[in-house]
Symmetry: C2
Subunit: 278 residues, 2 copies
Amino acid sequence: LSLTTFPRPGDLEFVPLAIEPTDNGVIGRFTLEPKLARPDGALFGGTAIAASTTLMETATNAPALWITTQFVSSAVIGEELTLEANVVARGKRINQVQVNGRVGAKLVFTSIGSSALGREGGLDGQFLRMPDVGTPADAAPFQPGPRGMVDPESSFNRVSQFRQTALADAEKRTDGSMALWARTREGGLTPATISYLADMAPIAVARGAGKLGGGTSLDNSMRFGPDPSGGEWVLLEMHGHLALGGYGHASVHVWSEDGTLLAYGGQTANMRHVWDAG
Amino acid sequence: LSLTTFPRPGDLEFVPLAIEPTDNGVIGRFTLEPKLARPDGALFGGTAIAASTTLMETATNAPALWITTQFVSSAVIGEELTLEANVVARGKRINQVQVNGRVGAKLVFTSIGSSALGREGGLDGQFLRMPDVGTPADAAPFQPGPRGMVDPESSFNRVSQFRQTALADAEKRTDGSMALWARTREGGLTPATISYLADMAPIAVARGAGKLGGGTSLDNSMRFGPDPSGGEWVLLEMHGHLALGGYGHASVHVWSEDGTLLAYGGQTANMRHVWDAG
């Protein structure tokens, strides 16, 4: 049984969702504010997956296990988003949930995923090790965002902070491997907030091609490990895999400071914002 | 522009979908036959993602870019599945699509994903290299499936064939890394059929814990590279990442015989079928 209560208090500090129950789940509403937007004022994909994760957990009273969010259209600062979470299969331990996020009648994103209570004696273990990197204190400041739009006071830079650290050559799985320490100033570390922080993997696709910049996510997929417990920073170990006709695929491992694999994700992006280094 | 026509002929040889247009996409129907089922006679997850991929491409006349399929309930051999693909965003190049698979009124699975036409001059490149493994001819026979249910004439073993090959220690990214050569006797290699073949990653979660067996998928996510062109076998490079309370997360890279990264996927499973080696 899970001892956590849902929604997690930190999640509501991060995305101030007003939640009410429905026959088959919950509805949550929030107004898009700058900290939840991209530098251009549109909904940040990480916000959509974070709010969806919170609602999946709230609708089922169980921790999120995996989630994929599909970005269908856009929303801008000041608009109210209404998220409807429907439990399409409610099991003794495993639930399948779908979330539609809308502005008025317009579909903005859809999330699908599972929440699940652990089985006593069920298979347990972490099968890989964290890369050996320097501490956040020794890492270099890093501000994601399109070129010329990296105002530290706008957008996700209001509540999150990134620092780049070096991966040893042996730990670069691809030509597009890189690592960022990341933290949020609000909400602490939860599956929702680490999904928000991890929405950066397209940067690694650009790096794979020897470029700077990133892209616009078409989706964001996360698979969660143990609940984050303590620690302030997470390491985003990102790998760009391939690009094709202007689209790119990347993966991200999210590590706690003490080496626990908190989540593992994949992402596909439209690589619109790419430029030459130097 | 894509020169491929959709549905791809090989896909219809593999899953014999009867497809008709709707106002906002297509509907496809097929009857579940043994080759598309698990050894226990239930719908094989790989079939659901394969048929969804075919319908996404058909509804938009563009190649699949990524897809995630959520498994909600089950279907058994002899039942008719009706898949409804709706295009929720139709762009000049990028489409967002949702597919619901049902038996009668019962929701069996939901898929979300994008198809996209490449952009001339868009970012292109493969940023990692295929592991150095032996040929399919030198690999050892491997039959997936729960213990005691590996009849080569039933289920996916009717149309697909797997052979295990060794990964060098330096290429084992996790304790649960393993590699299988795989091919299908029908349909050839397409994004749909490689999604079918790649629905094996939970085996790598069991291996990570030093066990044999696998699990029941809760979802299957694939991100596609270039169209498979030629070659008969694909290499499934699988990595078990972690297990928690009986659930496990894994990833898979799908390689062509000539070293092209054809697809990259992630999967979460309920690790129900696990036993000690030896």
